[in-house]
Symmetry: C2
Subunit: 354 residues, 2 copies
């Protein structure tokens, strides 16, 4: 029984009215009530197998999809989680970390029918504001926090909202929120032990942003482990993670009277920059200077010599973070999750010092 264009009559260009099908449309076609359709489509008791099949067939045929807004309204669930990043475009682009993390987060989210809302903002204060807005508007069910800082207003702010949140970083940085982290200290211990075994005694580090907690933790771990192993007190230079600052820091280290024999870089782009600088200044890598990159990507492998790197599965890290967050959303508080420790991948950029 084909009834003519119900209420909305004037069609624009011969096209269908593009009226997205609703359960009311299905109900009309099937000759039942909206409610029966709702029960049928959600596999809830209350409709006969025959009716259920008919309704499902009609839904399939007319391409019905549940309107997410309507559903969110009743279930008070957005099926969306959020991630705001506060780093400048140029830096975000050059660090493979975030893209790989996002990619891993997606893997888990899409398997569970959840979407990811992303926003890039200039600074952490605005990041909190974005989270406040998202939560207030009911757009997200939870969020990820990355790049935790020394005193970080986001931690307290998000906790106050009562919004499920996963901190990508060490528990000591997470406050009352749930951390998903990997043990940087152990990774650094492996690295320094390895360099010590090669015969190095002076190991410097070109670190990331000093205000990030994970930078501080690495700084502190390096102090402690160096002392334990009997290495020289380490020189640590802080940068903004850019290649330019990595190059500059390397130049400073190499020119200093107490030149280190090995350098650990907090990301791979700085390690590559450091490698170029060292070679340009006539040093042999690894003969005169050994280099280690923290986080491994294609970049570490395509330069000569290939870089010894602290390798970890970043997409998996993201997947774990997403899984943790979704569990919190659906089942309430969870303790946190410790991911695998980065594994040292020795390549051509490290050797015994001459």
């Amino acid at each position: 029984m084909d009834r003519m264009g119900s209420e909305n009559e004037p069609v624009k260009r011969g096209r269908m009215p593009k009226h997205r099908p609703t359960i009311a449309d299905i109900a009309r076609r099937a000759g039942v009530s909206k409610v029966a359709v709702s029960y049928a489509l959600n596999d809830r008791p209350g409709v006969s197998p025959t009716t259920r099949a008919t309704i499902k067939a009609i839904a399939q045929e007319i391409g019905w999809r549940p309107n997410s807004a309507a559903r969110a309204l009743t279930r008070a669930r957005a099926d969306t989680v959020g991630l705001a990043l506060s780093r400048p475009a140029k830096l975000l682009g050059v660090e493979p970390f975030f893209m790989e993390l996002i990619s891993g987060i997606e893997t888990e989210l899409s398997a569970r029918g959840c979407a990811l809302l992303l926003q890039v903002v200039p600074d952490p204060a605005q990041e909190l504001e974005v989270y406040r807005r998202w939560w207030g508007e009911g757009r997200v069910d939870g969020v990820f926090l990355a790049d935790v800082r020394a005193p970080d207003p986001r931690i307290e702010g998000v906790a106050e909202l009562g919004m499920p949140a996963v901190v990508i970083g060490h528990p000591s940085a997470a406050g009352s929120l749930t951390p998903v982290w990997s043990d940087d200290s152990a990774a650094l211990r492996d690295t320094l032990t390895y360099l010590h075994a090669l015969g190095h005694r002076s190991v410097a580090r070109v670190a990331g942003l000093p205000e990030l907690i994970h930078t501080r933790l690495r700084d502190q771990a390096q102090q402690e482990i160096s002392a334990e192993l009997g290495l020289d007190t380490p020189v640590v230079v802080h940068t903004d993670y850019s290649g330019e600052e990595g190059a500059h820091a390397t130049r400073r280290l190499i020119s200093s009277p107490s030149r280190p024999t090995a350098v650990v870089y907090d990301n791979d782009i700085m390690a590559v920059a450091g490698l170029s600088v060292a070679q340009e200044m006539g040093l042999d890598v690894p003969g005169d200077l050994s280099l280690v990159a923290w986080d491994d990507s294609q970049l570490s492998r395509v330069v000569r010599p290939p870089l010894t790197a602290l390798s970890r599965d970043i997409p998996a890290y993201g997947t774990h973070a997403a899984r943790t967050l979704l569990t919190m959303v659906t089942e309430g508080p969870v303790p946190g999750f410790q991911d695998a420790t980065a594994r040292l991948q020795p390549r051509g950029s490290t050797a015994p010092p001459r």
Copy 2:
């Protein structure tokens, strides 16, 4: 009925019930109806200045935000646009392009109070499925399409849905959708003309995925421009954009009997890999081999010699794409937008051939 605490009355830890404020709450406090509140908050006539001020003050005080689902339901507008990417995690991470693009897209979106929904999927077919779902569920008002392929089901599929969409790529790839693009052909012309002027006659190219339309367009332009300038018929090697394949392709080119004197790479990671391979094989860059990278990032500047690159403002590109899409969403069809042509940035990796 086994669940008793359903009326969420026993608060867990002394916290407020976390009932997000609605306009009904404001109405109650102000002693007016919901509608008066709605009018007041939306700056519509129908309430006295005094009442309006009172209502706004209360809204401010209790931290009211419009529920996005409820709003989407009546306005049939999600205030969200979508981007699905179908590249493997490892490749996405290493190419600064997407992160910078997203960052630029965000700049425009957040200024207009619009959110970005992101999804990473394994292949283009699933990307279309994601778009179908998002559109069917009313989650997005429009989408971006990147990495258009030779026959691309997404173009037709998205057009069929009647969903606003911007194609990041050449008009010839966009079908009936709206393109935002920059003139690769002109950029390549500048590059080849420059290399020709330096004295190069044999210019190869290490290209990206052959199924991408923009790769094809570059291939074709290279053919034509090379012929025009009197260069040798160009050798083009297709890759998956990874450093590994870039290195391999370079090795092949260098070892071939008709070794080119210059190579253009479709992204910077491959150019860096190519540089390493050339140096490893004993070639002097730029003396024996000149290299050009398509798309410029920090990477091009931190290696030695720094890479001559086709530089363009990718965040701005994203901003233009976002602006175009939002215009389509709010005002209907627009013609498309041509972004600035990439500018050749000569650095140390190019010189006259020996």
